[in-house]
C-alpha cells in the first residue's frame, strides 16, 4: 500500500498543514513501514518529532482500516502500547497524543499507567482498556500479574518502546523483552500480528538494539523478516568549550567538585536565556546550588535545583518553570537527562567528566532547540587533569565515536521475578512460558537444565532439610505454577521492578511539609541536632520516626552534604581510547616543541602540569604503559596508568595484586580512578623490569581473576540488586513494617550464607557472572593486556607524588587483596598499631 494514497495519510496531512507543519521525510518513511505491518527502529534525537513518527503511523493505520467511521468508532480495545522509561515523560506524551486525537475528532482514549496511577483509574482501565496505554516497564509487568491478562492484548496492533537506548543495557530492558514475549505469545494466532517499534537516540550498536527488541517476533514464525531502521538524519551542530582556570598551577590536582571555577560560570549564565548545569552526583549538586547563591545572591529566585531525591511536586514546578522560561539556571543531575525539551534552554554546562560520549551528547542536546540552532555546551573540569577529557570529548564528538549499549544476557533474577509475576496472575504452564522466554534475546541461550533449575528454585527453594522444611512460594497445582498465598502474592506485587535503591526515608518538617527523600545509610550516621543539606535547604535533624526523618530549618553555616551512591560511573571504552590519543599528543608535543600537530587548547593550558609530570616521572604516549613506584608515610605505592576506566582498572588491579602475591605473601589495598589504579602495601612491592611483562600476561587470565578474592567481594556487591530483584530481600512498606521485621537480613549476610551453604544457587552464580561480564569487562581487560604486551612498559621511581597519581591516592574507595592467612594478618595489623 502506498502511504500517500491512503485515506489515513490524507487525514493526517490535512491536520498537519492546518497547523502549518510538514512531516519530516523520516516520519513518512516510518508511517509507510507501519501501515505495511513491518517492525523496526526509529533513530531520532529528542525534539524532532520522534513521538509522531510512530504515533501518527498508528493513527493512519487505524483510519485506513476504518475510513468511514474512524471518527465515531470507540471502545476499540488496546491498539498501541507505549513503553517509556520515565514516569515524568508519560504525562507530556499523553497530552500531545490527546491533542491530536481531539483535533481529528476521534474517540480514542489515552491511558497512563505507572506507579502514580490511582486505584480507581486502574479499575476503569480494567473494565475498558484505552486505545493507547503509556506505561513503564514495571507497570507493564504488574499488568501481566493480573488475572486474565491475555484478553487485554488481543486487539493490540503496535508495541512501541520509547528511549530504547536508555533501557537496552539495563535489567529494565530485560523486563521489556520478557513482557514482549508474553504479549506476542498470548495473542491469538488468528488476530492481526502485532508489530514492534523502538525509538532510540544514536548509540554505537543501533542494529543490534533493534534485533534485541524484535527478537520475540520469532514466536509468530516470522524470524526471517528483518526489521527496518529509519534514521532521522537530522544532525545538530554542537559547540564545545572548556572553562579554563586562570592559573593551572593553582587549580587542584584532585577533586570531584570544581567549585573553584564557580565565578567563571556567572558570565555564562548572564549571556544566555536559560542554562542547565549538569553535576554528576546529587550531593555535589546541592553544594553547587549553595555556592552559586552565595557568590551571586541576586540569582535567588531565578535558579533552582533538580535531582532525584527532591520532592516530586517541587521537581514538577521546576520543570514547568523551565518550560515557561522563568528560570535563569537549573543545577541538576541525570534527572534532567531525559524528557521533553525545554525550549528556553540555550546553554548547558557539564561539571566534571560525563564519563561517556553518548551522555555528553545527550546533555549537549538539551540546549538550542529551534531548527538550525547550535547546541552549546561548556565543560568545567573538577581537577586539572580532567581538562584532557574535554579535549578527548571534542575529538570523539567530531568523529561521532559513540558508545554501544550492550544488551544483558541471562538475568536469572529478572526471570525469577517474572515467573513469580505470572504465578500471581492466573498461574503459568512451564512448556508455554519456556518457548516464550527462549524467544527473548536475553534468554535465547538458556539451557533446559537451567530452566528446570529456575522452576525448582521458585517451587522447592534450593537446598533444604526435607522433613523440616516449609518453603512456600510457587505451588504446582495440576501442572499450573501458581502462588496461592495471599500475603506472598501481595508482597511480590509490591516488589515488581528492577530499580534497586538504597533504603530511602522521607524527610518532613516538624511543622508538616515534605522536603524529599534521603538514604537511610546517610541519615543513620547523624545525631539529632546535626545539620545537613537537602533540596537546597539547611535542615536540622530532630528525630527519625516510622521511616520518616523529622527536621526543622537550620541556620548553621556549615552543614553536612549527603553523598549519594551511584554517582561513580566508569569511563566508557570509547572515551578511554580518545583519551589515550590526547595523552599521546600531549606527551609528543612536550618532547618535540617544534612539532606541527594540532593541539587542543586544553592541553596547551595544561602544559605546566604535564611538564611537572614529565620532570617527576613521565607522560605516557600511545604505545607506552607508565608505572610509578613511590614510597610515602602510608607505605609502598605502585601506580599503573592504562586509561581504561574504573571497572577495568579494578579488575586489573585485583589480577596484578594476586599475581604479585604469588611471589611473596603480601597484602594490598587497592584504589583506582578512570585513568589508573594503585596498589598500596606495607611492604615493598616486587615489580621491576624483569617481571613487568609477565605480570601483565594474558596467560591464565580467567583463572587468576577467579582466584583473586575480589571477585567474591565484587559479587557480594552485585548480589545486593540481584537479591532484591530475585525476591530475597524485602525493602519494607508502609503498615507492614513491623510484621516483616523478622524477615530482614542484609544482602551482605545473605550473600555469605548462600555462598557458603548453597554456592550453586542460580542467583549467586549470576552475581559472579555479572562481575565477570560487567564489572571485570573481561573482553576489555583482554584487549587492554594485549595492548600492554605490545607496549613499552616504563617504570619510574618519583621522589614525591606526581600529578597523575595524586587523584588516585586521595580517592577513598578501597578494596583489599591478600595472600596471607587471616589470623596472620590480624596479628600483624595489631603489631603495627602497637608500634605506632
Amino acid at each position: 500500500m502506498k502511504l500517500k494514497s491512503t485515506p489515513g495519510y490524507k487525514v493526517i496531512i490535512q491536520w498537519l498543514s492546518a497547523k502549518e507543519y510538514k512531516p519530516f521525510t523520516y516520519q513518512e518513511e516510518a508511517w509507510q513501514h507501519i501501515i505495511d505491518g513491518r517492525s523496526g527502529l526509529v533513530n531520532a534525537p529528542t525534539g524532532t518529532g520522534k513521538t509522531f513518527s510512530v504515533f501518527l503511523g498508528s493513527l493512519i493505520q487505524f483510519i485506513n482500516l476504518h475510513p468511514g467511521n474512524y471518527k465515531t468508532k470507540s471502545k476499540n480495545g488496546l491498539q498501541l502500547i507505549w513503553v517509556t522509561p520515565l514516569r515524568a515523560l508519560a504525562k507530556d506524551i499523553g497530552r500531545a497524543m490527546e491533542e491530536v486525537i481531539a483535533d481529528l475528532g476521534m474517540q480514542w482514549k489515552v491511558g497512563i499507567r505507572n506507579g502514580d496511577t490511582s486505584m480507581a483509574e486502574r479499575q476503569k482501565q480494567k473494565r475498558q482498556m484505552p486505545e493507547v496505554l503509556i506505561i513503564t516497564p514495571e507497570s507493564l509487568h504488574l499488568l501481566l500479574g493480573q488475572k486474565h491478562h491475555p484478553e487485554v492484548f488481543q486487539t493490540l496492533k503496535l508495541f512501541t518502546v520509547d528511549e530504547w537506548h536508555e533501557l537496552i543495557g539495563s535489567k529494565r530492558g530485560v523486563q521489556v523483552e520478557l513482557a514482549l514475549s508474553r504479549i506476542i505469545g498470548c495473542i491469538n494466532a488468528k488476530n492481526t500480528p502485532t508489530a514492534i517499534w523502538g525509538i532510540s537516540a544514536t548509540i554505537g550498536n543501533l542494529s543490534q538494539a533493534m534485533e534485541v527488541l524484535l527478537f520475540p517476533l520469532r514466536l509468530t514464525g516470522k524470524n526471517e523478516e528483518n526489521g527496518v531502521i529509519v534514521r532521522a538524519k537530522l544532525s545538530k551542530k554542537i559547540e564545545i568549550e572548556s572553562i579554563l582556570p586562570d592559573e593551572i598551577e593553582k587549580y587542584p590536582w584532585a577533586g570531584h567538585l570544581g567549585i573553584k571555577l564557580a565565578d567563571k560560570v556567572l558570565p555564562i549564565l548572564n549571556q544566555s536565556k536559560t542554562t542547565l548545569i549538569f553535576i554528576n552526583t546529587r550531593g555535589m549538586s546541592e553544594m553547587w546550588y549553595q555556592t552559586l547563591l552565595h557568590i551571586a545572591p541576586d540569582l535567588a529566585g531565578t535558579i533552582a535545583l533538580h535531582h532525584g531525591s527532591i520532592e516530586s511536586e517541587l521537581r514538577t514546578w521546576v520543570e514547568e518553570a523551565l518550560h515557561e522560561g522563568k528560570l535563569k539556571a537549573v543545577v541538576c543531575t541525570a534527572s534532567l537527562d531525559l524528557g521533553v525539551d525545554f525550549r528556553p534552554v540555550e546553554t548547558v554546562i557539564q561539571v566534571g567528566s560525563p564519563k561517556g560520549v553518548a551522555r555528553f551528547l545527550q546533555r549537549a542536546g538539551r540546549s538550542g532547540h529551534s531548527p538550525d540552532a547550535v547546541s552549546k555546551i561548556y565543560f568545567l573540569p573538577t581537577h586539572s587533569l580532567e581538562l584532557i577529557e574535554a579535549a578527548a570529548l571534542k575529538s570523539a564528538v567530531e568523529e561521532q565515536f559513540i558508545e554501544s549499549r550492550e544488551p544483558l544476557l541471562l538475568c536469572y533474577d529478572v526471570l525469577v521475578q517474572y515467573l513469580c509475576t505470572l504465578a500471581v496472575s492466573d498461574g503459568f504452564i512451564p512448556d508455554i512460558i519456556w518457548e516464550e522466554v527462549k524467544s527473548t534475546h536475553c534468554f535465547s541461550e538458556i539451557t533446559e537444565e537451567e530452566w528446570q533449575e529456575m522452576l525448582y528454585f521458585i517451587t522447592v527453594g534450593g537446598n533444604a532439610l526435607q522433613q523440616y522444611d516449609e518453603y512456600k512460594k510457587v505451588e504446582v497445582i495440576d501442572g499450573l505454577y501458581k502462588i496461592t498465598g495471599r500475603r506472598i502474592a501481595m508482597r511480590h506485587r509490591l516488589h515488581i521492578g528492577t530499580i534497586v535503591s538504597d533504603a530511602m526515608l522521607k524527610v518532613k518538617f516538624l511543622a508538616g511539609g515534605y522536603v524529599g527523600i534521603i538514604e537511610e545509610s546517610f541519615i543513620s550516621r547523624l545525631e539529632p541536632g546535626d545539620s545537613f543539606t537537602l533540596a537546597g535547604r539547611q535542615l536540622e535533624l530532630v528525630m527519625i520516626k516510622d521511616m520518616t526523618v523529622i527536621v526543622k530549618k537550620s541556620n548553621v553555616k556549615k552543614s553536612i552534604v549527603p553523598s549519594w551512591m551511584g554517582g561513580r560511573l566508569p569511563l566508557s571504552a570509547s572515551l578511554g581510547k580518545v583519551l589515550r590519543e590526547q595523552f599521546d599528543i600531549a606527551g609528543t608535543s612536550l618532547e618535540a616543541p617544534n612539532h606541527k600537530m594540532k593541539v587542543a587548547i586544553e592541553i596547551t593550558v595544561l602544559k605546566p602540569l604535564l611538564q611537572l609530570q614529565a620532570t617527576l616521572s613521565q607522560v605516557p604516549k600511545a604505545a607506552e604503559l607508565l608505572i610509578e613506584q613511590i614510597e610515602t608515610r602510608d607505605g609502598f605505592h605502585l601506580f599503573v596508568y592504562p586509561f581504561e576506566g574504573r571497572l577495568v582498572h579494578e579488575a586489573m588491579a585485583a589480577v596484578l595484586a594476586y599475581r604479585i602475591s604469588k611471589i611473596t605473601p603480601i597484602t594490598f589495598s587497592i584504589a583506582m580512578n578512570d585513568y589508573g589504579f594503585e596498589l598500596l602495601s606495607d611492604q615493598p612491592i616486587p615489580v621491576d623490569d624483569s617481571n613487568a611483562y609477565e605480570l601483565f600476561s594474558l596467560d591464565n587470565l580467567m583463572e587468576d581473576i577467579q582466584r583473586s578474592v575480589n571477585a567474591t567481594e565484587m559479587a557480594k556487591r552485585k548480589f545486593r540488586d540481584i537479591a532484591v530483584i530475585g525476591g530475597l530481600i524485602f525493602q519494607g512498606y508502609p503498615g507492614e513494617h513491623k510484621k516483616t521485621r523478622h524477615l530482614q537480613a542484609s544482602a551482605g549476610l545473605l550473600f555469605n550464607v548462600f555462598n557458603e551453604y548453597d554456592p550453586n544457587n542460580v542467583l549467586i552464580r549470576q552475581a559472579f557472572q555479572e562481575v565477570f561480564d560487567q564489572q571485570m569487562e573481561e573482553v576489555r581487560l583482554r584487549e587492554m593486556l594485549q595492548r600492554i604486551q605490545h607496549s613499552r612498559i616504563i617504570i619510574t621511581y618519583p621522589q614525591r607524588l606526581t600529578p597523575f597519581c595524586f587523584p588516585i591516592k586521595v580517592d577513598s574507595m578501597r578494596e583489599n587483596l591478600t595472600s596471607e592467612k587471616l589470623a596472620d594478618r590480624v596479628k600483624r595489623m595489631q603489631n603495627q598499631l602497637n608500634s605506632l
Binding site: F457, G461, G462, N463, A464, L465, Q467, Y468, D469, E470, Y471, K472, K473, G485, R487, I488, R491, H492, D634, G635, T667, F668, S669, L680, S681, D682, G727, L728, H742, L743, A745, S746, G748, L749, L750, V753, F754, E756, Y757, D758, N761, R814, N816, L822, A823, R825, V826, K827, R828, M829, Q830, Q832, L833
Partner: protein, 216 residues
C-alpha cells in the same frame, strides 16, 4: 578445634571458645546468646529460600560444645528462637530429648515470642528480665550496671573493626569484656554484626575463623 581460652573474672574461671560460647567452670554452665533458631525456616516459610544448612551447622556446633564441656546447664542470654514456631524448631525439640539431663535456662530476649506452653514442652526455664548468679547477672539487653554484679548480655551481635597500615580493614564478630559487663557474640552465623568501640582497658576477643584472638 582450638583449645578454649581462659579468662578469669571476679575470681571465676571462664573458658571462651571460637565456637561462640563461654563455659563457666564454677557453675558448670555453658553460656550462649542470640542463637536465632528457626530463622532460616521463618524466611523459607515466607518464600525466601535461605539454605537450611546454616541452621543445621549452628545446631551441630551447639551439640559439639555440649559434648566437649559436658555442662549441667545451658544459659541462653536471649534470642534463642527467631520468631514464631515452625518445623525447624521440631528438629530442635527432637535434639532436646537427646540431652534430657541438661537444664536449659533462657533469659527472654526480644525475639523470644513463642507460647509459654512451647517452652514448657521443650523443658526450657524462661526467665523474664534478669537472672542473678552471683557474682554475675544475666540479661538480654543491658540497661544500667549493678553495683556489685557483673552483667552478661547479648542482643547487639558485637563486632570489631580492625584497621592496619596500607588502609586495610576487617570486621570480625567478638566477645567484649568491659569494666562492668560482657557482651556475647551472636551464636548464630545467620546474623550480622554491630560494631563496638572498646575503651583501651577493656578486653576484646575476636573470632577469626576457628580461633580466638585477643585484640586488647
Amino acid at each position: 578445634m582450638q583449645a578454649p581460652l581462659l579468662h578469669t573474672l571476679r575470681g571465676q574461671h571462664l573458658w571462651l571458645s571460637a565456637q561462640r560460647s563461654i563455659f563457666w567452670e564454677e557453675q558448670k554452665a555453658l553460656i550462649v546468646s542470640d542463637l536465632h533458631f528457626g530463622k532460616t525456616g521463618h524466611f523459607r516459610k515466607s518464600g525466601i529460600p535461605v539454605p537450611q544448612g546454616i541452621y543445621k551447622e549452628d545446631l551441630q556446633r551447639l551439640v559439639n560444645l555440649l559434648l566437649y564441656f559436658k555442662p549441667g546447664k545451658l544459659l541462653v542470654v536471649g534470642d534463642f528462637f527467631h520468631s514464631h514456631a515452625n518445623m525447624e524448631l521440631d528438629w530442635f525439640k527432637k535434639w532436646r530429648d537427646d540431652f534430657s539431663h541438661l537444664q536449659i535456662i533462657l533469659i527472654r530476649g526480644n525475639h523470644d515470642i513463642l507460647k509459654s506452653s512451647w517452652y514448657r514442652e521443650a523443658r526450657i526455664d524462661v526467665i523474664e528480665n534478669e537472672l542473678e548468679l552471683s557474682p554475675f547477672i544475666f540479661t538480654h539487653e543491658r540497661c544500667g550496671d549493678h553495683a556489685d554484679l557483673y552483667t552478661f548480655c547479648g542482643h547487639i551481635h558485637p563486632g570489631i573493626y580492625l584497621q592496619g597500615l596500607g588502609k586495610q580493614a576487617l570486621r570480625l564478630p567478638c566477645f567484649y569484656f568491659g569494666a562492668n559487663h560482657c557482651i556475647l557474640p551472636a551464636f548464630s552465623k545467620f546474623t550480622g554484626t554491630a560494631l563496638i568501640a572498646p575503651e583501651p582497658k577493656e578486653s576484646v576477643f575476636a573470632i577469626v575463623d576457628n580461633s580466638l584472638v585477643q585484640m586488647q
